[in-house]
């Protein structure tokens, strides 16, 4: 194979598309995007619902597997945690046994027991973060009124809220696992309490203006550091020019 043929094959094996557009065109698309988004739905709030929706689907498959009356009991025997499933194993599709290790992949995948719910919560949180941050950045890009301080401030508070909601949701799953043997109980409790915590943190943020205070603090910090350095450089340049002019003997 010749060198040019080899190069041709390498390029064709890794195709990448790049769209270059003038600034005016990007601005026009951004305006359209912003108008469409505000007319139909709020992207920021919508993407955070993807993870709870996934959890609901998981709860559905769990109920499908163990049934509406499906019950699971967690027992600790000689330091090893087992999940004991009640009911007829023959009626279940995946979980054909009566007793599994709490770390068994089938149990963890269906979010049964503390370990399964925790893993699912971490997965959901990661997904929410992956979706929230790009949406915040996109809103920053398409909205002319959003400053960099607002982007950093809102992203920081959003991530804190997501983390806190996950933590409280995990607590709820633990509590639900302690009070009930319903297999889907801990997962549903984690979803419910996580959603309510997220709402409450939003409410408290709106009431006490945490995000706005953080944005204001960032802007003040920027003004006192980078802004001040900029002003000092500007002043220094001005003085230098004035001194040079006065040395040259001009008056103005």
């Amino acid at each position: 194979m010749s060198n040019s043929q080899q190069l041709h094959n390498t390029i064709n094996a890794n195709p990448e598309e790049l769209h270059i557009m003038p600034l005016d065109e990007f601005r026009e698309i951004a305006h359209k995007l912003r108008d469409t988004a505000s007319d139909n739905f709020d992207a920021g709030a919508a993407v955070t619902l993807i993870s709870p929706a996934q959890d609901v689907l998981l709860a559905r498959s769990l109920i499908n597997e163990v049934g509406l009356t499906g019950r699971a009991v967690t027992k600790n025997v000689n330091g090893t945690t087992y999940v004991i499933l009640k009911g007829y194993p023959g009626l279940r599709q995946t979980l054909n046994g009566t007793r599994y290790l709490a770390s068994h992949p089938k149990i963890v995948d269906l979010a049964i027991g503390q370990r399964g719910v925790s893993r699912n919560l971490v997965k959901g949180t990661r997904l929410t973060i992956y979706l929230t941050v790009p949406v915040n950045v996109l809103q920053y890009l398409v909205n002319e009124e959003v400053t960099l301080s607002r982007l950093i401030g809102s992203t920081a508070t959003d991530l804190t809220k997501i983390g806190l909601a996950t933590l409280v949701g995990a607590g709820a799953a633990y509590a639900a696992g302690a009070v009930t043997t319903v297999a889907a109980g801990p997962l549903i409790a984690a979803i419910a309490v996580g959603l309510a915590t997220g709402f409450t943190l939003d409410y408290l943020d709106g009431k006490f203006g945490v995000t706005n205070a953080l944005v204001a603090a960032l802007e003040t910090a920027h003004d006192r550091t980078i802004g001040e350095v900029g002003r000092q450089i500007h002043q220094f340049e001005r003085n230098l020019i004035e001194r040079a002019i006065s040395h040259m003997g001009f008056r103005y």
């Binding site: 929410t128 009930t180 709402f199």
Partner: protein, 139 residues
């Protein structure tokens, strides 16, 4: 040690669930007071329905206590029906919250309030300002 931790976490979660319910009532009541007082601007947020969902925890607990008390009777089927009751409770809480939230916003609109165009979003809700005079909408 482990049982103490369980009791503390269960108690905390019950208190939290009741606190969420109290917040639901508080938001509804304060908005109603704003409407009655004829306030020109009322700040609202979507997602009120989520505040009812944590009540599933006390419901689960009551269900299991009642189930355990009645389990001595052979004829009682409640312990075996826990899953059914649980699913019905979840559906009722979600549907109830949804309906109450829809009623909350229609109450504002019935009293002559209109949503402002500018809205901002949090992680679980969208902040909307309702006003009787759109010139009072925040910039």
């Amino acid at each position: 040690m482990r049982s103490h931790l369980t009791v503390i976490s269960v108690t905390l979660m019950h208190i939290l669930a009741l606190a969420f319910f109290a917040l639901f009532l508080w938001i509804g009541l304060s908005t109603w007071q704003d409407i009655v007082a004829g306030k020109p601007v009322v700040d609202t947020q979507t997602g009120l329905r989520y505040l009812l969902l944590p009540l599933i925890l006390p419901i689960l607990h009551i269900m299991s206590i009642v189930g355990r008390k009645l389990s001595s009777s052979d004829k009682n089927r409640l312990p075996k029906r826990q899953g059914d009751i649980f699913v019905i409770a979840v559906i009722m809480l979600f549907a109830g919250g949804w309906l109450l939230e829809a009623r909350y916003f229609s109450l504002l609109e019935d009293n002559g309030y209109q949503p402002c165009e500018n809205s901002s979003s949090g992680i679980r809700s969208v902040f909307i300002t309702y006003t009787k005079d759109t010139s009072l909408c925040p910039a």
